[in-house]
């Protein structure tokens, strides 16, 4: 018969749950407030969301070290804290951009903020565990909320984007489940740490099944990270969703996916399984080339940025393949630097948002729209140019440091050809980033009315841009402390 359960609260480590609990609570409060008062201003909700994100963040930085909790279900280690930090900071930046000058229907809905917070909770759970069940649940919570947020933008393209994203996500979820099944069948466990133990005890036999499991997982995670050939949704979804959400998608789901990928691939890279490395190199190279080359011919800035973010993901994938502490730290350094720049760039598009497609029936932000921007709104052109230069990897702006560190970790691991390919790809990328600069600085303006470009701007959005810009430009100062912190956290969690 069953013996009664006795659980000591101390062993549960309630503190690990605190960040997510706070935010879930916040989401519920927002919904409840909406029940009583329907006519609250959006700034109230934004502030409330921001407040809860702040509480969440405070609870998060209280955590340290590598801790298990709740019957080994939660695992909050350095990498998890780092990822949650990135998630929360970008969420805070993005939710501020809801305070736009122009009214948008979705920001008036309390549900938008509730779903936004649920999504963050999902991502946080996803990175704070090594149990496949909880990862899957976190992933789905976040994804389902995200699909809805995209659709709430209430444009035809937004619906299309949401449906495309959703359908592919459902297929990816199927692959995730299948991969979990394969590993469960192989090892009798759904916890990554146990899976590693059992597999290495059996000396990674039988190969076919293990590799097949890896393949299914790579497809599922590759979908989140937008790795070729599961990347096809990225440009369409970015184009369809509002600019801030697109910026959000280029950073947050990917960092969550990267954490899972690091945790998962570590099992195999640790044992030096060449196949996994080879496949990752293969995928990374294809992703970089395909994305960069397709980006060359884009006519829309947002789509160009989408392909650029695919290329950046391919870039990071190379470091994933190495699996050393240096490489993993490089990933996070790169992503932190990339986060501010990319959010800045997408926020600039948000500022330039205009209700009607004045310039092109198909695109919201075609290159031609930015023709001669420097004459109409020089400030905006300069800021945009800085972001483009940064994404292109020009020193001394932020992403350059990430690239430098990333490539040198690749070089350190002895993959010289890969490093050369990465350098070549950065060179190709320069072309399409410069294309926008050429449009902004060389062509004649198509309109005299500078207001069109800053119609959606407001003080909070300017603060977000200013913040991103300051970080991007002054990155040289922050790189060292950030890297030290990242490396420490990485070492403490054993990756």
């Amino acid at each position: 018969m069953l013996s009664p359960i006795s659980v000591s609260l101390a062993n549960l480590n309630m503190a690990l749950l605190a960040p997510m609990a706070i935010l879930s609570f916040g989401a519920l409060i927002v919904i409840c407030i909406d029940l009583f008062n329907k006519n609250l201003d959006k700034s109230f909700y934004v502030m409330l969301t921001l407040l809860f994100i702040l509480f969440d963040f405070t609870a998060l930085i209280g955590l340290s070290g590598s801790k298990h909790g709740f019957f080994n279900m939660m695992l909050v280690d350095g990498i998890s804290i780092l990822a949650q930090g990135i998630i929360l900071i970008s969420s805070a930046l993005i939710i501020i951009t809801a305070l736009s000058n122009k009214p948008f229907k979705e920001f008036k809905k309390a549900e938008y903020y509730a779903l936004f917070m649920f999504m963050i909770v999902g991502f946080q759970f996803m990175v704070a565990t090594d149990n496949l069940i909880l990862i899957f649940l976190g992933l789905e919570t976040a994804s389902l909320s995200l699909y809805t947020l995209i659709a709430l933008h209430n444009r035809n393209k937004a619906f299309e984007a949401a449906i495309k994203y959703f359908t592919m996500g459902a297929l990816a979820a199927g692959f995730f489940a299948l991969s979990s099944l394969v590993f469960y069948a192989l090892t009798g466990s759904v916890e990554l740490s146990v899976i590693e133990k059992v597999l290495s005890a059996r000396n990674y036999a039988p190969g076919v099944a293990i590799l097949a499991g890896v393949v299914f997982m790579l497809i599922a995670l590759g979908f989140k990270l937008s790795v070729v050939p599961t990347h096809t949704w990225t440009p369409d979804v970015y184009e369809g969703s509002s600019a801030p959400l697109a910026g959000y998608m280029s950073v947050v789901p990917k960092i969550a996916g990267l954490v899972i990928a690091i945790r998962f691939l570590d099992i195999f890279l640790h044992a030096h399984i060449v196949w996994v490395q080879d496949i990752l190199i293969f995928l990374a190279v294809i992703t970089m080339f395909l994305a960069n080359i397709t980006a060359l011919v884009q006519e829309d800035v947002k789509r160009m940025l989408a392909f650029s973010s695919i290329a950046h993901a391919g870039f990071v994938l190379t470091a994933l393949m190495i699996g050393s502490t240096q490489a993993n730290s490089a990933i996070f350094l790169y992503w932190i630097l990339f986060m501010f720049t990319n959010i800045g760039a997408f926020t600039m598009l948000w500022i330039a948002r205009h209700k009607k497609n004045l310039w092109d029936s198909r695109y919201q932000h075609p290159f031609t729209k930015f023709s001669g921007l420097v004459k109409v709104s020089p400030m905006m052109a300069m800021i945009m140019a800085v972001f483009m230069f940064t994404l292109a990897g020009m020193p001394p702006f932020s992403v350059f440091w990430g690239k430098l560190y990333l490539i040198s970790s690749v070089v350190d691991s002895g993959h010289i050809v890969l490093a050369v390919i990465m350098v070549i790809n950065s060179a190709i990328a320069v072309y399409y980033y410069t294309k926008l600069i050429v449009y902004m600085f060389l062509k004649d303006p198509i309109t005299e009315d500078g207001n069109i470009y800053i119609a959606n701007s407001s003080t909070p959005i300017k603060v977000v841009v200013g913040f991103s810009l300051a970080f991007t430009v002054l990155a040289s100062i922050f790189v060292e402390p950030i890297l030290t912190m990242v490396t420490q956290l990485m070492q403490s969690s054993g990756f």
Binding site: F71, K105, L115, F125, T141, T148, N156, T187, A212
Partner: protein
């Protein structure tokens, strides 16, 4: 013996049902076949001693999910034969066959012989539902709560999506359709 008969009967039926789902031209048939297949799957669960799962399968899938789909179908007014414009049939079938071969090959590989120590062993004499309950509310408490959050989020999402008022003029769509 009973197990063998039951397994093969259920297998053939489920494969048949799902075959209808995949190949039928009629949404109503497909949906009914899906519902039937789901109920038959619960048979496997009972066969495997996962009673709780079997019940959940029937209630959630056949009860809730299929009901939702039925409503959806009524809304979409698609209880008639549909015409699907399927292109590149060769590619589809090559891909289908390849993926089928690979998936089955991988899952059939006789690899599961080494026994692994059970982490959460079933205890003899304790019912399945009881065991599930025990684990669900200790070890899997957090996932359970997250699932609750997920369902809440999905509910909110469903409601808010259906509430959305369509603003844009349909011209874009017409253009898009006209192109093809």
């Amino acid at each position: 013996m009973f197990e063998i008969i039951a397994f093969y009967t259920f297998s053939i039926l489920v494969i048949g049902m799902f075959g209808i789902v995949v190949f039928s031209e009629n949404v109503l048939y497909a949906m009914s076949a899906l519902a039937g297949g789901m109920i038959l799957i619960s048979g496997f669960y009972f066969l495997l001693g996962a009673d709780f799962l079997g019940v959940v399968q029937i209630i959630v899938y056949t009860g809730a999910v299929m009901a939702l789909y039925a409503f959806g179908m009524m809304f979409f007014d698609s209880a008639r034969d549909i015409k699907e414009n399927i292109k590149f049939k060769k590619i589809i079938y090559t891909l289908s066959i390849l993926s089928a071969i690979f998936v089955i090959f991988i899952l059939m590989a006789p690899i599961y012989s080494t026994r692994v120590e059970a982490l959460y062993p079933t205890i003899h004499g304790v019912g399945n539902v009881q065991m599930i309950g025990l684990i669900l509310f200790t070890k899997y408490l957090i996932p359970f709560e997250v699932a609750a959050i997920m369902l809440l989020a999905a509910m909110i999402a469903g409601i808010v999506l259906v509430k959305v008022k369509i603003e844009e003029t349909p011209s874009n769509i017409e253009v898009a359709r006209g192109e093809k």
